[in-house]
């Protein structure tokens, strides 16, 4: 690792300017729990570090029943799961934010960093996809929005162009009788990379007995997080039942295209997608019914 420059812009405009000036040689720094590890390990190099933790837009957490939840890209996990509005309305997001790394890591790690690092195993992305989150991006040519399911393009790669920063992610306000959940499988209980992960959200009708809609997304079973459109759509209009959940799990398994590596095998991962889809859907259903 060689000496690098470091800057702390105070405004979004300054941040975008700094990023644009150095182009591909600049890296935004939020919590640094991915970036610093990668720089030290020689897996990434940069000439300029743009620390975005002083930019107000990137550190906000704001919720209202109309516009939903906007989380600044650099807000650390612990602020997210300790926020009363998040805890009350987005328990699925709390699942993710509270299992990333450890207490120490959660003091720094951000959702924005998790998304921009674009690891196939990222634990916050599937639940954001399940919740229908949108990424708010600013760059030299203005701002744009990209659905989170369209954000990642490959391992460590995404739609951000040179000079762009992720400002925040916005999740719509939860509908009545809705719930979400995220679970991952790791052999230990912390400090591990998901062998497989599943985020699910459901909207039930007023009786709580029928699905209105559902969204399912997977981690660690493809080069990018996977949005299982068909698996979610298969539940729309169906009565809540083990069979319906099982059918959705089978569809989710069909979307998984994992690899064999030291963390798990193809068979194990596909099997786990089935297990975790069933489990997350059942938790989401309970939450939608107010049972948990």
């Amino acid at each position: 690792m060689e000496a690098i420059e470091y800057t702390t812009p105070k405004t979004l405009a300054e941040a975008v300017q700094a990023m644009a000036d150095k182009g591909d040689r600049a890296r935004a720094l939020a919590g640094g729990t991915d970036l610093l590890v990668q720089l030290r390990g020689g897996r990434r190099s940069a000439d300029l570090i743009v620390d975005v933790k002083d930019v107000p837009e990137l550190n906000q957490i704001s919720y209202d029943a109309q516009d939903g939840l906007t989380i600044g890209a650099a807000a650390p996990c612990y602020q997210i799961y300790q926020d009363p509005a998040v805890a009350a309305n987005y328990p699925g997001l709390v699942d993710s934010a509270s299992l990333i790394g450890s207490i120490q890591i959660q003091g720094r790690a951000s959702l924005g960093g998790n998304l921009c690092n674009s690891a196939p195993s990222a634990d916050a992305i599937p639940v954001m996809i399940a919740l229908g989150a949108v990424a708010n991006i600013a760059g030299p040519n203005g701002t744009r929005q990209v659905a989170v399911e369209d954000f990642c393009t490959g391992p460590g790669r995404n739609v951000l162009e040179s000079g762009e920063v992720l400002v925040s992610v916005t999740m719509p306000a939860p509908q009545a009788n809705s719930g979400a959940s995220y679970l991952r499988f790791i052999p230990r209980n912390e400090m591990d990379i998901a062998v497989a992960g599943v985020g699910s959200s459901v909207v039930l009708d007023a009786s709580g007995q029928n699905f209105v809609s559902a969204r399912i997304s997977l981690a660690s079973v493809a080069p990018t997080p996977v949005f299982c459109r068909e698996a979610g759509a298969s539940l729309s209009g169906k009565a809540v039942s083990d069979e319906a959940v099982e059918a959705a799990a089978q569809l989710a398994m069909a979307d998984a295209v994992p690899i064999n590596d030291m963390r798990g095998t193809v068979r194990q991962r596909i099997h786990l997608v089935g297990v975790l889809t069933r489990r997350t859907l059942n938790i989401a259903i309970q939450r939608a019914r107010g049972e948990e």
């Binding site: 052999p187 230990r188 209980n189 912390e190 400090m191 590596d261 030291m262 963390r263 194990q268």
Partner: protein
């Protein structure tokens, strides 16, 4: 749940009490000085270039560009080792040993594992050293690797060394081979014993390469002065062993090498070999400046010494009543790149818990393209226990016998002869088994689905070896204790306790200090559960020496024959004149005016073994959907002889169990098909975290070791032995299918279900 229990037989004043550790404040305030903290005037930073290949011939190394790099002061390769200039004729019978030792430090003609050092650079800063190392050009001819013990034993396996022949019961093989040695122990008549059995069970077992996982990476700083004095500061379990190794490799007199052991952040057997020290010394010699080398975690995994992966076959014959009649065992251990796995210790431990009338153990030491293995807590014993104890568990299932009862029927006790020869003195296995059977854990039935209980026993020798202690009496009545044993598990405290007990003074009146190799007599490594036993013994002897001198001094002051003076409980008194009486403190104050200070010295090499046994009980649950194992309850029972400091004994027991749990469940070196380790980080080398563990309950049994003044046996090794088979058996009971390869990962369980 119950908690920790001490079953004491003898009470002492200082020994057996839970005192504060002398190094505690430095450690909790971050002031303790570790090797990486060293700052010296003119210090250079070093970096080692390591092989990217598991097996390759080095065709050429070009260091010109690196040597000319900015801020670079020295570049070294194997060509700079004195060995390069020595001939086979000069070295004679020592040639191969020295060649292996040198090639391990810096590869010469071949690299034998990924991470094998090839060259090293010293530069003005760490960054410059890292940049310079990238400028070294190495041309390799990549060779196919032999990665596992079974593969490497095949006749057509890739050969690591073309000059290594199998040493087989005193003979050398005709053709070179990866099998470095074949050894055997036997007693009785195995074939006859098998015919006496009602049930014979034969099974194969395997375990993966695992690492000790100490938190502090290896480090070494060296300064080779212009006058030939070589000073080394490093993290080691054995400064005297480093001194010997460095002197041996650098062909430098032992007396010109001074090794200062810094505080150590764990070792578990892995910090005995000198990896970086000779390289740092060479770089310093060449540059004329002090040089510091630090390993990264990846380097620690790839280039220090893991415990061997193994393949084992166990055949046991038993009667219907559960008496072992015969055992026939084959152990094949991976040595890593150079010979020297702990297969011999594994073989000696395999049946050590039992009275086996007819036994045969064959052991194979096999080189493979992995880092050379090193000691890891009870080296060889956990693997062997996994195989033997698992077969016993199967036998108990088959015969419907209680596993503790079975072990009681066959337990090793005083007078029993081990297969490799030694006869036990008084040992405490029976007492441990009884304590386990009486424990609330064992008496509480395990209920619930997908749950299993496992029980297993384990053994370690606990041998003594050399230790040295100096004790100097201060004018204020305190004592300075100078020792050569690096303090890993609280040994400053436990050794000071034994000195205080012997002198009859208070614990905090003894101040222990660990010093360098110039400042104390030869002291073997802190390892093998020997330190509290042997260095403790040295402290006792030194204290006796102090007592003798104090008696002499009192006699001189009182102008009376020495025979009239008595020393008891820290008080000197005249046997017949009650007026003549002095406390230790009172006499200490008078020493300088009555003939000078008093220093007691000792050099000991205690003979015999302080054999220790442990019995563990574990309950666990398997998630049948994911294969994940949750440890529900764990109880470790162990004979400590005398727990000098019960908290540290409990800590050793709990720590050993935790490492055993990791070994059993998730830890393993994962290699790709080119023999490159893929999980050389704590993220992917899955050691248990605090969240993966229940409270580990302990029961310390005290059956005094007849071979130690306070009855001390070692405690550090045994607790890592039983967890492997106990957990393996518990999982097998939970899922109804026998798991014969470690680690039993969730993936393996899913495949079995």
């Amino acid at each position: 749940m119950t908690s920790n229990i001490v079953l004491s037989e003898v009470e002492y004043n200082v020994v057996g009490k839970r005192h504060l550790r002398p190094d505690g404040v430095d450690k909790v305030t971050g002031r303790a000085q570790y090797g990486a903290d060293i700052r010296l005037a003119g210090l250079l930073a070093g970096k080692v270039l390591r092989s990217p290949h598991a097996h390759a011939r080095i065709k050429s190394i070009d260091t010109t560009a690196a040597a000319a790099g900015p801020g670079v002061h020295a570049v070294v390769t194997a060509g700079d080792l004195p060995f390069a200039a020595l001939t086979r004729e000069e070295l004679g019978g020592d040639y191969q040993r020295l060649k292996f030792a040198n090639n391990h430090v810096l590869a010469a003609d071949k690299v034998l594992f990924k991470g094998h050092p090839v060259a090293a650079v010293a530069a003005e800063s760490q960054h410059l050293a890292e940049e310079a190392v990238k400028l070294i050009r190495v041309e390799y001819e990549v060779l196919p690797p032999a990665m596992t013990v079974r593969e490497a034993m095949e006749p057509d396996a890739p050969l690591l060394h073309d000059d290594l022949y199998t040493s087989e019961l005193g003979q050398l093989s005709e053709r070179p081979s990866n099998i470095a040695a074949h050894m055997a122990f036997a007693t009785g008549d195995v074939e006859l014993g098998l015919t006496q059995a009602d049930l014979v069970v034969e099974r194969e077992y395997q375990t993966a390469s695992v690492h000790q996982g100490y938190i502090e990476p290896h480090n070494a700083t060296a300064f080779w002065n212009a006058d030939g004095q070589l000073n080394i500061w490093c993290s080691t379990q054995g400064p005297f062993v480093v001194r010997t190794n460095v002197a041996d490799i650098l062909r430098h007199p032992v007396s010109r090498v001074k090794v200062t052991p810094m505080e150590i952040g764990g070792g578990f057997g892995g910090k005995i070999t000198a990896y970086l020290e000779p390289i740092a010394a060479l770089l310093s010699q060449k540059s004329g400046r002090p040089v510091k080398l630090l390993m990264s975690r990846t380097e620690v995994f790839e280039a220090s010494g893991p415990a061997p992966g193994t393949w084992m076959k166990v055949k046991l014959g038993v009667t219907r009543e559960g008496r072992i009649t015969a055992a026939d065992i084959t152990l094949a251990f991976e040595a890593g790149a150079y010979p020297g796995s702990p297969v011999m210790q594994g073989a000696a431990c395999a049946l050590a818990c039992y009275d086996v009338p007819n036994g045969r153990i064959n052991g194979y030491d096999v080189v493979v393209n992995k880092p050379k293995t090193a000691a890891y807590r009870a080296p060889g014993s956990p693997q062997a226990a996994f195989a033997v104890e698992s077969v016993i568990d199967e036998i108990c299932e088959e015969l419907g016998l209680d596993p503790v009862e079975f072990r009681l029927r066959n337990a090793a006790k005083e007078g029993v002869r081990r297969v490799e020869g030694p006869v036990y003195r008084r040992v405490g296995l029976v007492e441990c088994l009884e304590a386990a059977r009486n424990h609330d854990h064992y008496r509480t039935p395990l209920e619930g689905e997908n749950r299993g209980r496992g029980v297993a026993a384990g053994f370690w020798f606990n041998r003594g070896f050399q230790s040295s202690v100096n004790l100097t009496v201060n004018p204020d009545g305190t004592v300075n204790l100078i020792e050569g044993s690096v303090d890993i598990g609280g040994s400053r405290a436990t050794i000071a306790q034994q000195a205080a007990e012997t002198l009859g003074i208070a614990y905090d009146e003894v101040k222990p200090t660990v010093v360098d190799t110039d400042s104390i007599g030869y002291t073997m490594v802190t390892g093998g559960s020997r330190t509290t036993f042997a260095t403790g013994w040295a402290a006792i002897e030194a204290a006796e020496d102090v007592k003798r001198q104090l008696v002499e001094r009192a006699a001189k002051i009182w102008d009376t024959p020495i025979e009239d003076v008595e020393y008891a409980d820290g008080v000197l008194s005249h046997k017949s004149d009650p007026e003549l009486r002095m406390t230790f403190k009172e006499l200490a104050r008078q020493l300088l005016g009555t003939g000078g200070g008093v220093t007691g010295v000792s050099n000991v090499d205690p003979a015999g073994e302080g054999n220790s046994f442990g019995v563990h009980i574990v309950d666990l649950e398997v998630d049948p959907d994911t294969g994940k194992v949750t440890i529900l309850r764990y109880t470790a029972v162990q004979d400590a002889g005398k727990a000098v400091h019960p908290s540290y004994v409990e800590g050793q027991m709990q720590g050993g169990v935790v490492q055993g749990i990791g070994w059993a469940l998730n830890e393993e070196y994962f290699f790709n098909d080119q023999g490159q380790m893929m999980n050389s980080s704590f993220l992917d080398y899955r050691m248990p975290t605090a969240l993966d563990l229940p409270m580990i309950d302990t029961v310390i049994v005290e059956v005094a070791n007849p071979g130690h003044p306070y009855g001390v046996r070692g405690v550090g090794e045994v607790p890592i032995v039983p967890p492997l088979p106990a957990i393996g058996s518990a999982i097998s009971h939970a899922i109804g299918s026998r798991m014969r390869r470690l680690p039993v990962t969730p993936g393996a369980i899913l495949e079995a279900l």
